[in-house]
Point group: C2
Chain length 186, copies 2
């Protein structure tokens, strides 16, 4: 299938799940919205779960390029800002919340693949930081990512509070420098 | 209403949302399961959203007492372990995922009240730490909580990976000491 056609299918899938929820998502609906024959879609993705799982990982609308600002701190701030944008700006916000919510409730969607794929791309940030001597080789990149991504999720999604105005810098500083180290002397 | 009766209603509410999802939750179902008249339930909580929102904050099954181990590090490790238990051990896990998922999709549930209530209780941990001189007065307790709670959420719920075997200690150490400070020398 042509990549452009595939993106149209993913786009229709994500927009439908955002509009109607996972229960309202159907391959028929995706066929109608994308103008691609239902049988063709089923040939590539055997179920709506497989289709949504693939869309999460591969759709351009949730696309992600790891930052390369020249410093670990700059890269992590850019990462947090990208996550904050994804979870607060429509239409990405509605798509991400609907798709991730469905992934939590429906293991057959294999939402873990989305996080594994993101982490594989984020690794570059940490490899460069180790090469530059900003991070020891024993540091745990997944822990760093999970602390930062998790803080954005809790603050923006669960608390419904802003993740702008210094939030990214403060979160990154807490994880890089420690809250006791950076605050105790004030 | 007697506190015990109220807890039976909350318990029925949370178990029903875990079994049937928010769409399958009805005040009628809660009345049947708890043996309390539907009209009585409506008199206290005007909608299923109000009922579930109250159950989230007040139900004993999601109950939470802030730890007091004598040190900030010990308290935070205990907090992370409590959150990890909540998000991995049935039945609390299924209840928490269903109720928090519903709160994200249905703002009328006012899920923010749950997080505000938890944070109000967690504050004691940080007030004691400041008094003991373990934390500067400028440190941001909500940021610390959101980093740690968020990491548990991402690791356990999104990645479906274990949050045992040193996870709590490592996450707390990252936030208290910083990943550059604690790892760079290794």
């Amino acid at each position: 299938m042509a990549p452009r056609k595939q993106q149209e299918i993913f786009d229709a899938t994500l927009r439908l799940v955002a509009e109607r929820g996972y229960d309202g998502l159907t391959v028929e609906g995706v066929a109608e919205r994308s103008g691609v024959n239902k049988t063709t879609i089923y040939r590539w993705w055997p179920s709506k779960a497989a289709l949504l799982g693939a869309a999460l990982v591969e759709a351009d609308v949730l696309g992600f390029e790891p930052p390369d600002t020249g410093s670990l701190r700059g890269d992590l701030v850019a990462l947090v800002e990208a996550m904050a944008g994804l979870l607060t700006r429509p239409p990405a916000r509605d798509i991400a919340l609907a798709a991730l919510g469905a992934a939590v409730r429906h293991p057959e969607l294999d939402g873990r693949r989305f996080f594994a794929d993101r982490f594989a791309r984020e690794r570059a940030v940490f490899e460069r930081a180790v090469r530059r001597g900003e991070l020891g080789g024993a540091a745990d990149p997944m822990l760093i990512v999970d602390l930062l991504a998790g803080a954005v999720w809790v603050r923006a999604v669960f608390r419904g509070q802003p993740v702008t105005g210094g939030f990214a810098e403060e979160a990154v500083s807490a994880v890089l420098d420690g809250v006791t180290a950076s605050h105790a002397g004030r």
